[in-house]
Structure formats: C-alpha cells, structure tokens
Symmetry: C2
Subunit: 394 residues, 2 copies
C-alpha cells in the first residue's frame, strides 16, 4: 500500500548525528561526531552495587509500574539540588522525570506548540531540539547570536514584531553545537524580555555541571519572577546516558500539563533506573564523581584547542569552550563542510557538519567537534589528520 503519513513527516529527516554514529561504531574510526560521554568514566562498579541493593531492598516494586511523575525520592533530591544552585523554591511537584532531556523537549513541543507557532532559538541551535519541536509543525526564527548569547536588542525586536511566539529555546552553558556560554547580562536580559512578553523560555542545560574554567553563572531561571522559565536537565552527562533519565522543572501549573502529556506518551520512566539513580545519590558523592569527569574533559578540551591552534590552517576559526562537550569550527565561506567530511571519513576521522544546526538552513561552512569521547592521543591524531584535510580546502 501507499502509506498516507501525517504532513509533519515531510519535514522530518534522520538526525545526521544518529546516522553518523553507525559509522563511528567501527573501532578504527576517530570520532568527534557524537555527543557521547566518555564511557570509562561511568561509575560501573558503583552501578553494579546499587543495582544489587535496589533489587534486594525494593524487590518486585523496582519492576512494577509506578507513577507518571516519577520516583518521589529522586524528584526530591533534584528539587533540593536545584534550590541550592538556582535559588528556586521547588518541591517534588515542580519536577517531572523524563526519558532523557530529549523527551522533555518533545513534551515541551506537545504542551505549548500549535501548528504555525514560532520558536525563537539561538543560531545555530541543538539539532535534536529542532526535530523535537518541528514534529509539532512550528516555525523557527533564529535570533542573531554572538559569543555571549542571543543579542538582546535583536531578541526584543523579534518579540515585538513576530506573531505567535510560544517558546524561546536556549542552552546558555557550553551550548550545543557551539560550546558558547552566555554572559551574565544576556541571561538577565533574556529573562526580562520573556517576562515582559509573557513567553516561555525552555532553558536546556545538559552540560552546566561540566565547567572547566571560571565561575558558574546564574541560570536564566534565577532571574525568573513569573514562572516563565522551564528548566531541562539530565543525568546523561554526569552519570550515564543509557538509563535515559532527565527531567523538566518549573512552575507547577506547567509541570501538571507535562505530566498529562507524558501519560499519553509512555506512561512513566523506567522504574528501576529511577530507583538506582536515587540509591547512587544516597550512597555516593556525585560531586566527587563530576569533578573526575571535569578533570578528564578539561584535559581533552585543552589538547583539542591546542592542537587546533597549532595545526588548523589560516582562515579556519573555532570556539574555546569553558566547559561541556563541543567546540565549533567555522571554515572560509567557500568551503562546504560536507566535502571535508567526505575526505575525512575516508581517513577514518568523523565529525558532524554544522549546516543542520541552523533550522532554516545555510552556513554549510561549519562543523562541530566533540572532545569528550576519545582518549588524548586519538584527539591529537584525529585533529592533526583533519587539519591536513582542511589545508587542502582553504
């Protein structure tokens, strides 16, 4: 038969990241492509222990259905931690556990977006947020963005002149894909603009705990006096991604709507995964663990930046991220990163081209480098190889 798919399917395409991950499974490939955390840092022995304890203590409860909202002790831990970091006054009713922060993006689209509604986003922005929101047939307007975040006057101008803006989507810390971090002033200006225009801010912050240099900056949520900022977070980068546990936190009136759509989306998160994370947080010091991750990624970032500085040809620029997983490379305008990628894959070096991070297209002269997943010697080897290829193009 000829399938008669929904109209939205015409706009959805396979994530280039997920597709390239299939290539990078080959062990000979040096991959800067995924957003994979370093598996050697997963607390494997602790997880074995926690796993054993949860099945011993909770028994079949760990395997049964549970509430849509999620395991109460884990939601309470999250509320307390956010309160101490952000100055919020959350309790567990402010928190919904989700299957990764990716699901929180999807649910955000479902809760807020009608066909034709507008999402304001950074330019470029996170690829899989584009797919999640696009499934609700929205439009994207890219807000002019520099190294300090969205440019406030441009944001205000767009809020003033654009109909049906429903969401401002931002990643203020170590953004994906650019690695950029918003300045303090920009965070405050964003919150003020959102409050003034009554628009929801989705503040996605998967990497905030992974700061290598400088002082942590207050989250956009810290400036929110009306409940307009919803926070998306995850255990994927600080614990492990395989459990698929993230969350959305914010005003209870909004969280109740998220709970409703999560009921229809998949009823609830994996029960035992929620209990295991809660037990890990009870028995171990996650901050000590995060400090270890930071130390390793910092060295990798240092090495990646140093190698790019030494080896990349004139005319190629790149960001020097203060944290997170990614750096962003801009090539001379006439160079198409897809051509570079083709050559580099021949030499078993993988990265993601930057064009798809722009929801309205363009900027094919960009690419994203992940530095968290490869050991140090392979980072140097891979980036040297990439530099050699770049010299052929510029």
């Amino acid at each position: 038969m000829e399938f008669n798919f929904a109209r939205r399917m015409a706009h959805l395409k396979a994530s280039e990241i997920r597709e390239i991950l299939k290539v990078t499974e080959r062990p000979e490939v040096i991959s800067f492509a995924g957003g994979l955390p370093a598996p050697e840092l997963f607390p494997l022995e602790e997880i074995k222990e926690v796993n054993r304890i949860v099945l011993e203590e909770e028994g079949t409860k760990a395997l049964q259905y549970t509430t849509t909202e999620g395991f109460a002790p884990l939601r309470e831990w999250i509320a307390n931690r956010m309160n101490s970091r952000l100055g919020t006054s959350f309790d567990r009713e402010n928190i919904l556990l989700t299957h990764g922060s990716q699901q929180a993006l999807d649910l955000s689209g479902k809760v807020f977006l009608d066909e034709g509604d507008v999402v304001l986003c950074e330019s470029p922005t996170y690829l899989a947020a584009i797919s999640a929101f696009r499934a609700y047939c929205c439009e994207f307007v890219e807000v002019p963005t520099d190294n300090d975040g969205m440019i406030p006057d441009e944001l205000e101008r767009l809020l003033e002149n654009t109909e049906r803006v429903k969401i401002i989507y931002v990643i203020p810390d170590f953004q994906n894909p650019t690695g950029r971090t918003w300045s303090l002033e920009r965070r405050e200006r964003l919150a003020q603009a959102a409050m003034k225009y009554g628009v929801v801010v989705i503040e996605d912050n998967p990497y905030g705990e992974l700061r290598f240099d400088g002082e942590a900056l207050p989250s956009v949520k810290s400036f929110d006096q009306t409940g307009c900022v919803l926070c998306l977070r995850t255990f994927s980068k600080t614990f492990c991604p395989g459990y698929r546990i993230g969350w959305v936190a914010g005003d209870k009136r909004a969280i109740q709507k998220y709970v409703l759509v999560k009921q229809g989306a998949d009823l609830q998160c994996n029960t035992i995964a929620q209990m295991e994370i809660a037990k890990y947080l009870e028995l171990y010091d996650i901050d000590e663990h995060i400090a270890k991750i930071r130390a390793v990624y910092r060295r990798r970032r240092d090495l990646a930046v140093k190698t790019m500085e030494e080896e990349f040809p004139e005319g190629v620029t790149f960001t020097r991220p203060q944290g997170g997983l990614f750096a962003w490379v801009e090539l001379p305008e006439h160079v198409n990163a897809r051509d570079v990628q083709e050559k580099s894959l021949e030499k078993n070096v993988a990265f993601v081209t930057g064009g798809s991070f722009f929801p309205n297209g363009g900027r094919e002269n960009t690419l994203r480098i992940n530095f968290s997943n490869m050991p140090e010697d392979r980072i140097v080897e891979g980036l040297r190889c990439l530099a050699g290829i770049l010299r052929e193009f510029v």
Copy 2:
C-alpha cells in the same frame, strides 16, 4: 504569568486509571482498578542474575547511548518469534523498540495523524490510546462492536462514508477494557477492509500471550497482504512493566518513519533494559514463565467470574474473558458507575468506571474489573463487597 498552552491541552485530561492508582497504593485497598500484572510473578531472581551478567559482560556499553532502533539481538529475537507465531517474514529492520507499547501508540499518532484526521476504534476502547491519539487532535469514530469484535458491515459502511480515516485501532485479543476476543472471521474481514480502503490498522496486542482457554486465533496481521497492519506488543505483561520495553513491528517503510519520530521523542530506549531482556531470553525459557503467569491468572479469572455469577444482582451483566487482565461490567442504564465507585472506595474497593473508555462519551453505566493483581482471597472479598454495593443501586 498566564501560560498559553497548545490547543490540544484543552482536550487532555488526567487518566482516571493513573489517578486512581494513587489511591490504590494504600495496602488496605482491594484494587480491581489498574492493569497491573501480579508482581509476585516477576522473575526477580532471574533478573538479579541477568542484571549481574549484563554489567559483567557488556560493562559500560550497557550504560552508553545506543541506536534509536534498539539492541539488535533483542529485535532479532522478536522478529523470529513473530515469524513463528504470525507467519510474517520480519527481520530486525521490521522492529522498533519503544518505551512500552504506550510509546508505540504515541509514535503512531505522530507518524499518521494530522489535525482533524479520523481514528476508527472499538466501542469502548483503551483509555490511554485515546489520550495518545487525541494529542494529535484527531477525531474518533466508534465502530459498533459486539462480543466478536467490530461488526464488519458497520466498519465497511464507515470506511465508505467517512472522510480522512487514517487509522483503525483494535485490540483483538482479550481487549482492554472489555476482555472480549475477536472471532476468526472478524479478523479476516477487518484485514480485507483495511486493504481495500488502504487504511492502516494498529493491532495492539499486549495480552495475546495470556490465553487461558481455547486455541490462539491468528492475528489480523496474518491476513495482511499489503503491509497495512502495524503490530504493537510489549514485555510489560509477560516479563515486567518497570523496564518500559515494548515494540512496533511492520512494513519497513512505516517502521523507518517511526524511527525518525522516536529520534525526536527520546533518542532511544534504556540501553541496559534492552540488554537485560535479551539476556533473559537467551538464558531462560520465557514460555515456561508465561505458562506460570497464565495458570495464576486463569485461577483468578475463574474465581472472579464465579464470584460475580454468584453474587452480582440481577440486571448486572459481565464478560467472561478467555484471557488477559480484564472483565467488563454493565449495570442497568439508570445506574451511574461513578456513584457506585464513590461508595465502593469508602469500603476500600477500587475499580475504574467505564465512561472514559468511550472516546465520544456516554455509557456511564459501565465499569472495568482487573483480576490479575490481587490474591485469590481478596478477589472474592472485594467482589462480594462490590456486589453488596451494587444491590443498593439496581
């Protein structure tokens, strides 16, 4: 601020089942409300073992991101099993793992439904399928249904005369909420009608393995010659629901679209849960395990039916399911099951009222009885108590 939610949020309400589950957590409550499998039958010791082995053998791979499609050995096991049961010729590319079959319902809505499209469904039908599809702003047309399934002439008449029918949604085995099983002829007629009109059938079959009496009937998929039937299944009722692992199986052109929307929805299923189920299936005999579940549920069904036959007053009718988890009770037309529920909750007996299983409302004189989750003595005690309350109403 005043949140400006999407229009769909006006139609979504909290699942009465999920809400009543909060009440039934109190141990003194005898609950016929949820669709909870019996936890004492979960293979807890085997899961402990499998858990240990997977973390030992797979190490950090079990904790890392994996592909959206799912863990290949598990998809292969599923394809082989479906081939041997349904006569299909699936390979792993025909299978996408989902967070429970609930997620497969949500993804079905996303893949097929535009606003205003029509879903044909049984009357009544599964509550959480209604919420999942309704999020895509579809209309429901209830097909007149009797004890053997949808009435074929009525179905054909509706297919002939209704614009924009995109999905026919059915649960042919031990339906939720009625416990009814479709006859062989009705299955074949449904497949023929769907092929003739080029409409997709979502054949949801969470309970098919739990047959207590009689011979298994061929699935609707067995009669499908064009790829129009998509099969939704789950490990929730045969293994345990806490892992949230189900799947959708069918024509590869459709499954590829499901993969695309799952990427945006939550990237992938819990990695270790997929590996653990695969390992369980490798090391243990799931059919032996399912036989145990069947034996226990059969006794509970027998006892529930016997108690209802002996105790329920004249004028109250109910189904005698050949399998699954549910029986369906119809009260005299003037009795509102919500009034009965109020009285029965006062006496710590819980059930779900039937009205919300009709997407277009009405039939408030119905209720659903789950018989899988309570031990035998409490089934008798609870149904006797309910019978006493019913005698006050009829």
